[in-house]
């Protein structure tokens, strides 16, 4: 049985002390260990931002790309070798801001990917500007008079985009988050795991205490996954009470299930050296 430390990378995190990202990193390592996933068969893809540093702290194959493009890269990895366990790591700026278009398309595509979004409702690495999930009227260096736009609701977007696994965790609730990530990895299809994660440096509104006063577990209140209409009601709940857990899960064939050329073998394992174009040349005669 693998242990969490087996997934420990060689680099030490450079996140601020008490950053919510530590909890997510710990939960990911615990989930990988519980599922006994080989490090060499796991690829962690990230973008740019505090969240993007995650692959540096894991002993798997890692791809830290450019800002907002986690999902296209993860899609390329998965289509090249769908036997791999592919985890995307995004942030609220990376995934719900600059990378929003890819997010919607990845969900309708339903590749077997796990997408964990570090959602701290603020830009960290660029020093505290407003993010797409910042509260209405949140003040920041880029919005000194408060955000005029309404915040993005990632879970509702996911429901509207036919994502087949939709969940929310809290970085401090380690065991619950570990179990959500495990369920997400085990789910055959696209899994969105939005993780509330306080930014101790730049977000003085949505603090640990702020979340802890509001969060509750869906399961503990008897919520049963399955009915999409109820999932909508829960996805829209935000304010005095914030639900955590798995909101929605459904089985739908994955994208790779329907790609003809990779039914028998992963693309990377198929020898392309034998491509004989003679029949195609004949058609040009």
């Amino acid at each position: 049985m693998a242990r969490s430390t087996d997934y420990q990378g060689h680099e030490h995190p450079t996140w601020c002390p008490n950053c919510g990202d530590f909890g997510i990193l710990a939960a990911v390592k615990m989930a990988l260990a519980d599922l006994n996933l080989p490090t060499h068969e796991t690829v962690v893809v990230s973008g740019i931002g505090c969240s993007g540093k995650m692959p540096h702290y894991l002993k798997t194959y890692g791809f830290e790309g450019i800002h907002g493009r986690v999902l296209p890269v993860a899609t390329g990895v998965k289509l090249a070798n769908h036997k791999l366990n592919v985890i995307g790591i995004g942030g609220d700026g990376d995934g719900y801001g600059i990378g929003m278009g890819h997010f919607i398309h990845a969900m309708r595509r339903n590749l077997d990917l796990t997408y964990i979004v570090h959602n701290n409702q603020v830009y960290g690495l660029t020093k505290g500007q407003t993010s797409p999930t910042s509260e209405h009227h949140f003040t920041s260096p880029s919005t000194p008079d408060g955000v005029i736009e309404m915040p993005v609701n990632p879970l509702a977007l996911a429901l509207g985009s036919d994502a087949t696994f939709i969940a929310r965790g809290f970085s401090k609730n380690l065991v619950e988050l570990r179990d959500i990530i495990k369920a997400g990895i085990q789910h055959k299809g696209f899994s969105l795991i939005d993780v509330l994660q306080p930014c101790v440096t730049y977000n003085h509104v949505n603090t640990y205490a702020w979340y802890q006063q509001r969060i509750y577990s869906l399961v503990k209140e008897g919520y049963v996954v399955g009915d999409k209409a109820t999932a909508w009601v829960k996805a829209l709940e935000w304010g005095d009470r914030i639900p955590l857990g798995i909101f929605h899960k459904e089985d739908r064939p994955t994208y790779e299930d329907e790609v003809v050329s990779i039914q028998k073998e992963a693309l990377v394992d198929q020898s392309a050296s034998a491509n004989d174009i003679s029949p195609l040349l004949d058609k040009l005669r």
Binding site: G62, G65, I66, L79, A80, L281
Partner: protein
């Protein structure tokens, strides 16, 4: 204008009408018939950026010797509407024939050249009578055209119709064959065989009729390309269509992505995971890809990108040709990183260079960019069949799965003598590593250490130091000594090749330096060739002479003349001849 050939062995057939009439398909049919008869053909298309409507035309040049270019002067103009006559009547050479549809063209204007024969045929009416539809008007027109040409073979047309319409059912085949026969018969003895020529004797040459995009797609497939991610954009969209259709028969996955940003990032992911990956686009899409291109350079991933130029800036004139993106592609994305940039000049080079691009990408672990333009992408030419196995696949220093007993952690960016480091792919135990878009150390870990940045920059730049030893050299076409030396890149190759012969006939000896590799720049080879040149003329389809500037930057050589054309059309051989003679007078 060209002088007419009495024997009709170099015949230019043009069909024009409203976009959506199936003119490109008609051109392909006529070209296939002539290819079957043993001739060489060269097909070009012009069309507007409209799905249905606007004016479109297709030109098929037919000759009994191999062709490298289209040419000026039309011998048979098939006008399916009056607009075609207005636009193209002036292109007809003396002795030409205008075939027009008597139902759509109310009156034919008086043509200045009285040697042009005007023949009205009710194409649509015949189409309705014989095939019960309007669409077979093209078939009627081709039938009539074949009757005008002594070596026009109706039997070959019948066979081609059988093959082309096979999947639409035998009813469609016979309907078209009836239409073809009726068009042929309608010409009558008075006009038949207006163009005297004989069918080439002996066994017809074994040729294929292929366009630039098909050639590049086939090259990619032959090289074992396993993954294409792209977003459709003129002029490269048909690469997406061809390769998508091959997925069921080859180990190939084709993804039409949500945008070009996704396309470039997706092939980066696929390449990281170990498959041969490619994208294709045009300037607008490439603009979106540039950030990921730099990431690929930083991560040292092998990818191939086809960049099809059209008329810019911005959306420009999407369905027309230009060479305005040379500098853009050479410098795209922030920072400095090595890239290989290639410019095939014809369909044969498009095929082989695309195939080899995959090897070079793997060997040098860098992006390989291939230029095409609307002209090359769209033109079809008869050439000797491509080699079905043109290259031996070389994946470069890609460690095999069995060879994974490597250190911990794996030094993906190890400082090697030639700058190229062995790489592992996911699935390979012991090969775990991170690739990051940040500057990194030998293990791939993020760094802000200035000396490491210098080491890694030097390592990356070192990779292409000896690349010119394996990349194709500039080619000198024509006599070693000449009055005029043309220099050009990309699709001007064929036009200039033909111009050399035409200039020789005028007593001007000319040769031509065809530059295939634009980065790394072949400084020594070009300097050597050009130092021996008397008068250098740089030929480019752009307004600013981008290549001339590049040549000067790298070699200090300044061409005596720049022959620039940016009216959205390719040079014709005669245009090059006329402009050269003009320049030499100066």
């Amino acid at each position: 204008m060209d002088k007419p050939h009495n024997r009709g062995i170099d015949l230019n057939w043009k069909i024009g009408g409203v976009g959506g009439f199936g003119l490109q398909a008609a051109g392909a049919l006529f070209a296939k018939v002539m290819r079957r008869t043993g001739f060489y053909v060269f097909v070009t298309h012009e069309y507007p950026n409209i799905i249905k409507g606007g004016h479109a035309a297709t030109e098929v040049r037919v000759a009994d010797t191999p062709l490298t270019s289209h040419r000026d002067g039309v011998d048979i103009l098939v006008a399916l509407d009056a607009d075609t006559i207005t636009r193209h009547a002036g292109e007809m050479r003396s002795g030409a024939v205008l075939l027009y549809d008597t139902e759509t063209v109310e009156s034919v204007p008086t043509l200045a050249d009285s040697t042009i024969r005007v023949i009205g045929i009710p194409f649509v009416k015949i189409s309705r009578e014989t095939a019960k539809m309007d669409l077979a008007r093209n078939t009627v027109a081709i039938g009539a055209s074949l009757a005008l040409i002594e070596c026009g073979r109706l039997d070959h047309f019948m066979a081609v119709l059988g093959l082309v319409f096979e999947r639409k059912g035998s009813d469609i085949v016979t309907a078209n064959q009836r239409a073809a026969q009726a068009g042929y018969d309608h010409v009558g003895t008075e006009n038949s065989h207006t163009f005297a020529c004989s069918v080439p004797s002996g066994t017809p040459p074994d040729t294929i009729l292929v366009n630039g995009n098909e050639a590049m797609s086939l090259g990619a497939l032959a090289a074992g390309c396993q993954f294409l991610a792209m977003y459709p954009m003129t002029p490269t969209s048909s690469i997406l269509h061809s390769m998508a259709a091959w997925q069921k028969n080859f180990p190939l996955v084709v993804k039409h992505t949500e945008d070009e940003i996704a396309a470039m990032n997706m092939i980066a992911g696929a390449s990281f995971a170990g498959v041969r990956a490619m994208t294709a686009t045009s300037g607008g899409g490439f603009s979106l890809m540039t950030e990921a291109l730099g990431m690929i350079g930083m991560m040292e991933l092998p990818v191939v990108c086809i960049m099809g130029m059209r008329v810019g800036p911005s959306t420009g004139m999407p369905t027309w040709t230009e060479q305005g993106e040379l500098r853009f592609v050479l410098h795209a994305s922030q920072g400095e990183f090595p890239r290989i940039v290639l410019a095939p000049g014809d369909v044969e080079e498009a095929f082989i260079l695309t195939a080899e691009a995959f090897n070079w990408a793997d060997q040098f672990q860098c992006p390989v960019l291939l230029f095409t333009d609307k002209h090359l992408s769209d033109l079809s030419n008869t050439v000797a069949p491509f080699d079905a196995h043109p290259i031996t696949i070389n994946r470069g220093p890609l460690l095999a799965k069995t060879n994974a007993a490597v250190g911990e952690p794996f030094a993906r960016y190890a400082l090697t003598e030639n700058g190229i480091s062995p790489r592992t792919i996911p699935g390979q135990a012991g090969g775990e590593h991170i690739s990051t878009s940040y500057e990194h150390d030998t293990w791939g870990y993020y760094t802000e250490d200035g000396s490491v940045h210098v080491e890694q920059t030097d390592k990356r730049m070192r990779k292409l130091e000896h690349a010119l030893d394996v990349l194709p050299k500039p080619v000198l076409i024509g006599p070693a000594k000449a009055d005029v030396t043309f220099i050009a890149w990309g699709s001007n190759k064929g036009n200039i090749q033909e111009a050399l012969g035409r200039l020789a006939a005028k007593g001007v000896t000319a040769n031509f330096v065809h530059v295939v590799v634009l980065a790394p720049f072949p400084v020594e080879a070009l300097t050597k060739i050009l130092t021996a040149a008397t008068t250098i003329i740089n030929v480019e389809n752009n307004a600013t002479g981008q290549f001339a500037g590049l040549l000067r930057e790298h070699t200090g050589i300044v061409p005596q003349h720049n022959m620039l054309k940016y009216d959205a059309r390719p040079f014709s051989p005669q245009e090059i001849v006329d402009k050269t003679l003009e320049l030499l007078k100066k």
